[in-house]
């Protein structure tokens, strides 16, 4: 029996569509609905309370602090990862002895679960028995309290994040570098460009769309930073409380589902706004270079 094309089409797409609606679309709209209610996990009658939750958010000092913490975290983490990752990619661009092994080792941090990494680094950075401080003590150096000093906690989480995600930047930067055809470097050599000129005017601009894409992915991901905070300090430490940690605290420790939902909507809006700006920017660059827009 022949199945009509239209039926077949929905047959293929259907299952994915059902999952998408059940686990993405429906929760999103239900979340929006909840953010306008006073729903609590502890029960009681849920009532629509209009925009009052959003008012609460902007009056809450924790929100401002979490926003600053998140912003600082995103900027420092992504910028450092970009610079280190690109530098590593440049170092790995040309073939040399041992390159495959080194590349593989460099990619290991990225392949491990963030939660496991958080626990692992808890041991490494522990003030009393951690490897880092033991090493410092051998040389008689000052031993910082990486995980308990309020001034250092965020820095420690930042370091772990950089350690984990620099390989990701490196990988994408390498893809970008490899996509630059060799004859352009040859043309530049004929045109007597210095190494710095080649980097500044050939390598960097041709690599930049992919670098921006990597920054976009890392930024949206870092904005949601939660697992490392959770594993290293817990969700309710003012020095490290990111927006996601605050959301978790409100929703799952305070059981305030309605308020928590409005927090998540705010985070979502920030992510969407940033992503839109980045995507427009990348499209702009590509249009300028006369490439097909992605």
């Amino acid at each position: 029996m022949r199945v009509k094309d239209g039926v077949l089409k929905y047959g293929f797409v259907g299952p994915a569509l059902v999952f998408l609606i059940a686990f993405n679309i429906f929760p999103l709209f239900y979340n929006i609905y909840l953010s306008f209610t006073d729903a609590e996990l502890s029960g009681g009658v849920t009532q629509l309370i209009g925009g009052r939750n959003y008012g609460v958010i902007f009056d809450d000092t924790r929100y401002g602090t979490a926003l600053r913490t998140t912003g600082l975290f995103v900027v420092l983490a992504v910028a450092t990862e970009l610079i280190l990752g690109f530098a590593l990619a440049l170092a790995l661009q040309k073939p040399f002895w041992g390159k495959p092994a080194i590349t593989t080792i460099l990619l290991v941090p990225m392949m491990l679960s963030p939660a496991v990494m958080g626990l692992y680094w808890n041991f490494i950075l522990n003030g009393h028995y951690g490897v880092v401080n033991q090493a410092l003590s051998v040389f008689g150096l000052f031993q910082p309290q990486w995980l308990t000093d309020p001034d250092l906690k965020l820095f420690s989480i930042l370091m772990i994040d950089i350690w984990m995600w620099t390989p990701f930047m490196m990988l994408i930067a390498l893809a970008g570098l490899n996509a630059i055809p060799n004859h352009l470097y040859e043309a530049a050599a004929i045109d007597r460009a210095s190494r710095w000129t080649v980097f500044r005017r050939i390598t960097l601009p041709l690599c930049s769309p992919l670098l921006f894409l990597a920054v976009l992915l890392r930024t949206t991901d870092a904005l949601k930073q939660f697992d490392l905070v959770m594993a290293v300090t817990g969700p309710n430490d003012r020095a490290t409380q990111t927006l996601s940690a605050l959301l978790y605290q409100v929703m799952f420790r305070g059981y305030k589902i309605g308020l928590g939902s409005s927090y998540s909507i705010v985070i979502l809006l920030i992510v969407i706004a940033l992503a839109t700006i980045f995507i427009r920017y990348i499209a702009g660059i590509q249009a300028k270079q006369g490439r097909e827009t992605a």
Binding site: P181, H183, L184, E186, A187, A188, A189, I190, D191, R192, A193, S194, T197, R201, I202, P205, L206, K288, Q289, G290, R291
Partner: protein, 352 residues
């Protein structure tokens, strides 16, 4: 002292491929040299070694009294036109052309004047603000030529610059390059596998095969006096008619003949009876009332003329003709004896 000299130039790649097996070439200032050969003959590798894009594994390159053998491209004064243009995709045409001048610290006003000059010469004034991706292949190659010509390098190196263009653009740019060459008497090495291009552009043609030079000479020397069987066959379209046979004493005269035939072609050249390869260009064969009998087996019509393949008792001969013949038609052929070329069948080199 030649302007450019290649001495026993060699290139063996790490995988053992011997791309260039010892090349000697002397180029005078203002000469337009074409490296001609089939793909894989080492002509592009030779060019890239002159540019500094490949490091020779043997021999020496001298340019303008300086040993440049192992110098990077930036320390030689060369312009290079790539087969696939190699334009910077993120720069406008203007920026592409300006790039080589900016790198040597030319002032902005001079750069502007220079761009203006080459853009006019190559009729790309209207394209200056566009990006390479927006241009046709022909226009991209114009820009590439402009980028090479905006600076006045010691020598221009061109790697099949017209190879990817359509026929119309190819002829147009070929004429442009020839005019530039004549008016500015630039020194250039030009690589191509297209013999027509080589003939029309070159002061001297270097025919290469298997990483070696087969013959160096003016286009007419190469065409009329090929040094060996490879050149005789490769140059000319179709190539020279080549028949192996022997020269025998026939009374007072020497004649060329083949076994199992009583056809004898008189040989006037000062030679002795021997095994030879007999060669004649298709245009020196014409239909006649008497002569070598044959049957037309294929007739190629090309407009102004045609090529007629004729089966004769001494072998298949291709004749250039303005007359048209039907397949199967019985005709007689006359061979112009002053244009006979003889080759040694063992060394494959020319005897006359």
């Amino acid at each position: 002292m030649p302007f450019l000299e290649l001495q026993n130039l060699q290139k063996t790649y790490p995988d053992g491929t011997r791309a260039v097996r010892g090349i000697d070439l002397r180029v005078d200032k203002g000469e337009f040299i074409v490296l001609l050969g089939p793909s894989g003959c080492g002509k592009t590798t030779t060019l890239r070694m002159i540019a500094g894009l490949e490091d020779p594994t043997g021999g020496q390159i001298t340019l303008d009294n300086q040993n440049v053998t192992h110098l990077p491209p930036s320390q030689r004064d060369v312009g290079f036109v790539f087969q696939f243009y190699a334009l910077y995709p993120h720069m406008t045409v203007q920026k592409n052309i300006a790039f080589p001048l900016e790198n040597i610290g030319t002032s902005p006003s001079e750069i502007e004047a220079a761009i203006d000059r080459v853009a006019r010469a190559l009729s790309i004034e209207t394209l200056l603000d566009q990006y390479p991706r927006q241009l046709s292949g022909g226009d991209q190659q114009r820009v590439s030529l402009a980028r090479a010509m905006v600076r006045t390098p010691d020598i221009y190196l061109m790697d099949e610059p017209l190879g990817t263009l359509d026929a119309e653009h190819r002829l147009e740019l070929r004429a442009f390059i020839r005019r530039q060459q004549l008016s500015l008497s630039i020194t250039a090495i030009y690589v191509t596998h297209d013999q027509e291009e080589a003939m029309s552009l070159a002061d001297r043609i270097v025919v290469m095969d298997g990483g070696k030079i087969r013959q160096i000479g003016s286009p007419s020397e190469i065409y009329t006096h090929p040094a060996d069987l490879f050149v005789a066959n490769f140059v000319g379209s179709p190539g020279m008619n080549l028949l192996s046979g022997q020269i025998v004493q026939n009374g007072d005269n020497l004649t060329f003949t083949r076994p199992d035939t009583d056809i004898h072609i008189p040989i006037r050249a000062n030679t002795a009876p021997a095994q030879v390869v007999f060669g004649m260009r298709p245009e020196f064969i014409r239909p006649a009332n008497r002569g070598i009998p044959g049957k037309v087996i294929l007739s190629e019509y090309l407009g102004s003329h045609g090529y007629v393949h004729v089966d004769t008792p001494i072998g298949e001969l291709v004749m250039r003709s303005t007359d048209r013949f039907a397949t199967g038609e019985k005709i007689h052929l006359h061979l112009n004896e002053t244009h006979i070329r003889l080759f040694d069948p063992d060394t494959e080199t020319a005897l006359t």
